[in-house]
């Protein structure tokens, strides 16, 4: 017997719908085995997790708070992947956005101007962080997967240098940046919670992106250059311009994740401002099959896992890094499942058998 992958003529719609469900289920099974091997009942553990993530009003709102940056970094990855710009640099672009927002937030400005200025600065700096590797790929054919990934470290350690040097908090002496001014703190949108306006901004961005990619000439150009840059060039699209603009937007969205963490959660830049939101964004985008609307759902799923894992760890003693396992396994399972939307498995008798027949 031999197993072969055969391409499907048309992408299977049902498989497309099933893929993320199977991926999530697979992630649950694998992590369940891990939990059981630690001597804890997996059902119970997952129960704790779900309760901690969505079990109460405050838990749910805390989850949404975590979902906010995930939507942004998910959109960042989705946008880039659509034009086949392999932007793994959401993490670094997030940090750039955070630093820009913290800088603006500590200046003395009219009260109304903090929010738009922080957003604009974070978006721009994050965008530039993606524009550089995109430009390098266009001009010098530098591998974008490697350059965006490596830039994450450059940016992180650059930020650490800043935090332990010029930006060191003069009052506490910690390696944290100074707090932003009160007026720069993002408005809360739900009473008795920390959920801030950034969540609406994230959902709004997803909707706008969906409209852009389906309803505008720019979206059409993006799709064309992502699927067949040569034909796009022949049809008169300026391929490099669209590529660079999309890269800028992609990085900008990751930057907004950083802006929201500074403006709505931490109010300063700390070394642990992102527990890997940038990387989780890759999972968010893949689970959502790069669809902006579905990114909200997959961000919710990963956000819930991240909040739930903390609480589960406190109650059962299982390390919270289990959240990373769930993330990793669901990404792998999704990638595998996506293969089956385009290919089908064929079991085939071996060559010898065929000849014998």
């Amino acid at each position: 017997m031999r197993i072969r992958l055969e391409p499907r003529l048309q992408t299977s719609q049902s498989a497309m719908l099933l893929a993320p469900i199977i991926a999530v289920a697979a992630a649950m099974v694998v992590s369940g085995i891990l939990i059981a091997s630690a001597g804890v009942n997996p059902i119970q553990a997952f129960g704790t997790m779900i309760k901690a993530a969505v079990g109460s009003r405050s838990a749910f709102l805390e989850t949404l708070l975590k979902v906010t940056p995930l939507i942004f970094t998910g959109l960042c990855a989705a946008l880039a992947f659509r034009i086949k710009f392999w932007n793994i640099g959401g993490e670094g672009q997030l940090l750039l956005g955070a630093m820009a927002a913290a800088y603006v937030g500590t200046q003395t400005l009219p009260a109304w101007s903090y929010l738009p200025l922080m957003i604009a600065a974070g978006f721009l700096l994050g965008g530039l962080g993606a524009l550089l590797p995109a430009w390098l790929r266009l001009k010098l054919n530098v591998n974008d997967t490697v350059s965006t990934l490596m830039l994450n470290f450059v940016i992180f350690f650059g930020m650490m240098a800043l935090l332990s040097g010029p930006w060191k908090d003069p009052i506490s002496g910690w390696s944290d940046s100074p707090d932003i001014v009160m007026n720069a703190e993002f408005p809360i949108i739900v009473e008795r919670s920390r959920l801030h306006i950034g969540f609406l901004l994230a959902v709004g961005s997803a909707v706008v992106l969906w409209l852009v990619s389906t309803r505008t000439t720019f979206g059409m150009a993006m799709k064309a250059i992502g699927e067949n840059p040569r034909a796009a060039h022949h049809a008169g699209f300026s391929v490099s311009k669209i590529f660079l603009v999309t890269a800028l937007l992609s990085g900008g969205l990751a930057g907004l994740a950083g802006v929201c963490e500074v403006g709505g959660v931490q109010f300063q830049v700390i070394s642990t401002i992102s527990p890997g939101y940038g990387y989780a964004g890759l999972v968010v985008a893949t689970l959502a099959r790069l669809h902006p609307g579905e990114i909200i759902l997959s961000a919710m799923f990963l956000g819930a896992i991240m909040t739930g894992a903390d609480e589960m760890s406190r109650q059962t003693g299982i390390p919270a890094t289990l959240a990373d396992v769930v993330q990793g396994v669901s990404l792998l399972a999704m990638l595998i499942a996506l293969v089956f939307t385009r290919y089908r498995l064929r079991l085939r008798a071996s060559n010898k058998k065929v000849e014998a027949l």
Binding site: Q10, T216, N228, A231, A232, H234
Partner: protein, 498 residues
């Protein structure tokens, strides 16, 4: 004697070998002639086991052969040397000769091959140092390596696919001497070629294919002429040629000047057909005219103005429509819907969009109208373009490019993959555009098509324009000869590269 009988092979919709009979005797050199796409290579690939025929059979000395792969073919003594070499450049000659050859259980058959190489040198006068690295060999020597590889297997039938296309005249002489030596030793040789002089000089028999069928088989009794052969290859028009009504050419709309190549001038009310065997520089001309590629050693003029740094968008805005040769690669975006492909090149302008927003209703209505007009099947605007057949994709491209009433049309192989009816439609459309004042360049290797459409015929060979004259001052024979590089008597005298 090897016989192929009633071989048929289909690729998708296209019947590339249609009930073909072919045979070759020991010691015979057979030339297989035909235009591009006539089915010669396919037939030989079937014989060598690279393709499997849909029907028909192959017999060697009366025994039916089942050839499923090149290994089977070699096992029956059938070898093939391809147009593009298949050697490992970083290995030595010896290592290349050893590839795929069973040795003993633990060692390779090194010594026996050295012995055999010496024998071959005695027999055929072909020699290569087995310890030289292939990357240091000339193209002619690499070809010799491939022939050696076949001879080591003691082939009885050797297929050479356009063996001289990459060789210098001196190398050609060496190859021919070796081929004669092989034939004298009883090897049957099939030679696929476009070069008529060589075919006449070397072959014992000429088999001519056209559109998947064998149309003629001639013994080479040294009375054959190039004109006779090219006539048979390109064929007289099967349907009566619809001579397009003469229109007096208007002013020059587009001119592409090049030092090395010569100039192409497109004038209003005129169809220029650029004939040539594909791969001789036609693509460069169309890509430079459409702004896809930069003009390296000359310049592009539109309406008498030099276009600085042409881009596809800019050229298009000057009224030039362009349909590239490579439909899937350069024309369509397969993952996008048909309607998106139909409006793609104009999606950023009225009426298809407003302030960057697509007007989806307008696009859909426009696409539906074009789908009906160009008879695109299936008549749906929302399916992915990659699901359509090549002919329908071509129609989609035509709909996209020709619906703007362009002033200049640059179109490569306009009817490739289209059936007779669709081809007729395209011809009528192009003639209609010309009558409305458009300047048109048609790249083609189909002489029927050239003489159906052309007001003026240009020929490109080896990157140079070798003929340029009004269509009624030349003949398919002359053009066919010029395409194959023999700038013969009459053609040369009608020289007219502006």
């Amino acid at each position: 004697m090897l016989e192929m009988t009633a071989i048929s092979k289909r690729f998708g919709d296209a019947l590339v070998n249609d009930d073909v009979d072919f045979n070759i005797k020991p010691g015979e050199i057979v030339a297989l002639l035909g235009e591009n796409g006539a089915g010669k290579s396919t037939l030989m690939n079937v014989l060598f086991g690279l393709y499997r025929a849909d029907s028909g059979e192959i017999r060697l000395d009366g025994t039916r052969l089942s050839i499923r792969s090149p290994v089977d073919a070699l096992g029956h003594g059938i070898g093939m040397v391809h147009q593009h070499s298949h050697v490992v450049r970083r290995h030595t000659v010896m290592e290349n000769l050893l590839v795929g050859r069973p040795g003993g259980r633990w060692q390779l058959a090194d010594a026996s091959i050295r012995q055999r190489l010496l024998e071959i040198q005695d027999e055929f006068g072909l020699w290569l140092d087995p310890d030289v690295q292939v990357s240091g060999l000339s193209i002619g020597e690499i070809q010799r390596l491939e022939i050696l590889r076949a001879l080591i297997d003691e082939v009885r039938i050797l297929i050479l696919d356009e063996p001289t296309s990459v060789l210098t005249p001196q190398q050609v002489e060496g190859l021919f001497a070796a081929m004669r030596a092989m034939a004298n030793r009883g090897v049957g040789i099939v030679m696929i070629s476009h070069k008529l002089d060589e075919v006449r000089a070397l072959s014992d028999r000429v088999v001519i294919m056209r559109r998947g069928k064998v149309v003629a088989e001639l013994d080479n009794d040294k009375t054959l002429t190039n004109a006779q052969l090219s006539n048979l290859m390109c064929g007289r028009a099967v349907e009566p040629v619809r001579k397009s009504p003469a229109a007096s050419p208007g002013k020059t709309l587009l001119a592409l000047h090049s030092q090395r190549r010569g100039s192409v001038t497109l004038r209003a009310n005129q169809i220029v057909c650029l004939a040539g065997i594909s791969g001789n520089g036609q693509v460069e001309i169309t890509e430079q005219m459409s702004g896809v590629a930069p003009v390296s050693d000359g310049h592009l003029e539109i309406d008498g103005q030099i276009v600085e740094e042409p881009t596809p968008k800019r050229i298009r805005s000057l009224g030039v429509a362009y349909i590239p040769e490579d439909r899937q690669g350069a024309g369509m975006v397969g993952a996008m819907t048909l309607e998106q492909n139909i409006v793609m090149s104009r999606s950023d302008s009225w009426p298809f969009s407003k302030w960057g927003w697509l007007r989806r209703k307008v696009i859909r209505d426009f696409a539906s109208q074009k789908i009906a007009e160009y008879d695109i099947r299936p008549p749906r605007s929302d399916l992915r373009a990659s699901l359509y057949s090549g002919g329908n994709q071509q129609k989609c491209l035509l709909a996209r490019e020709l619906s703007v009433s362009p002033r200049v049309v640059v179109i490569a192989y306009p009817t490739r993959g289209l059936d007779v009816q669709a081809s007729d439609f395209v011809y009528r459309k192009l003639i209609e555009l010309r009558d409305n004042g458009a300047a048109i360049l048609v790249v083609s290797d189909d002489l029927d098509e050239v003489f159906t459409l052309a007001d003026r015929v240009a020929v490109i060979c080896a990157g140079r324009l070798t003929l340029d004259c009004p269509a009624d001052e030349t003949t398919p024979e002359d053009v066919g000869l010029a395409m194959m590089g023999s700038v013969a008597q009459s053609a040369a005298s009608k020289e007219g590269t502006t």
